[in-house]
Amino acid sequence: AQTVTQSQPEMSVQEAETVTLSCTYDTSESDYYLFWYKQPPSRQMILVIRQEAYKQQNATENRFSVNFQKAAKSFSLKISDSQLGDAAMYFCAYREGSGGADGLTFGKGTHLIIQP
């Protein structure tokens, strides 16, 4: 079974600084997708960024970018120019690329605190 590990239960960063959230995963598959979701205090899950395993180029969405290291099975999220609205729980997630729509495997999350 696939597993997703987020080793940082909590991270803190000063507003306008850069922070990196770590995620590692375990899989024997070669075709898969990786995601970062944000869950603010309102609880609603928001898709932040997505990476296809077959793509070597790291995904980027505005201030959010990933460092995808396929051989190391590492998928970290970098948030540049942190803003107060970035404060939330961040979840890393994995999905197989082929087969049924059996949803995602989530990590336990990292609580990101933004200090003004």
Binding site: V4, Y33, F35, S42, R43, Q44, M45, I46, L47, R50, F91, A93, R95, G100, A101, D102, G103, L104, T105, F106, G107, K108, G109
Partner: protein, 111 residues
Amino acid sequence: NAGVTQTPKFRILKIGQSMTLQCAQDMNHNYMYWYRQDPGMGLKLIYYSVGAGITDKGEVPNGYNVSRSTTEDFPLRLELAAPSQTSVYFCAVGVSHQPQHFGDGTRLSIL
């Protein structure tokens, strides 16, 4: 557009009671999912559906049932509520094999 609507937002049940968590979407997405989130944990998949009339088990289906008679609705049924089912439940929808849009969640307590 309402997106994904979950009702109720909060509910307290007694052990052994039953209830249905409602999920409705107006996005016309084929894929629908039910997740539960326990404190300090990520989401775990309960059931999912790839279209009307088709449902399948996820990682933690025991104690739950679903149906998908229409594209819009995907209710989750708890038949005999147990304390272990105390959790926050999220419904999600997507156009392919991943949830893209989530509801606001239902906080359920079993006492």
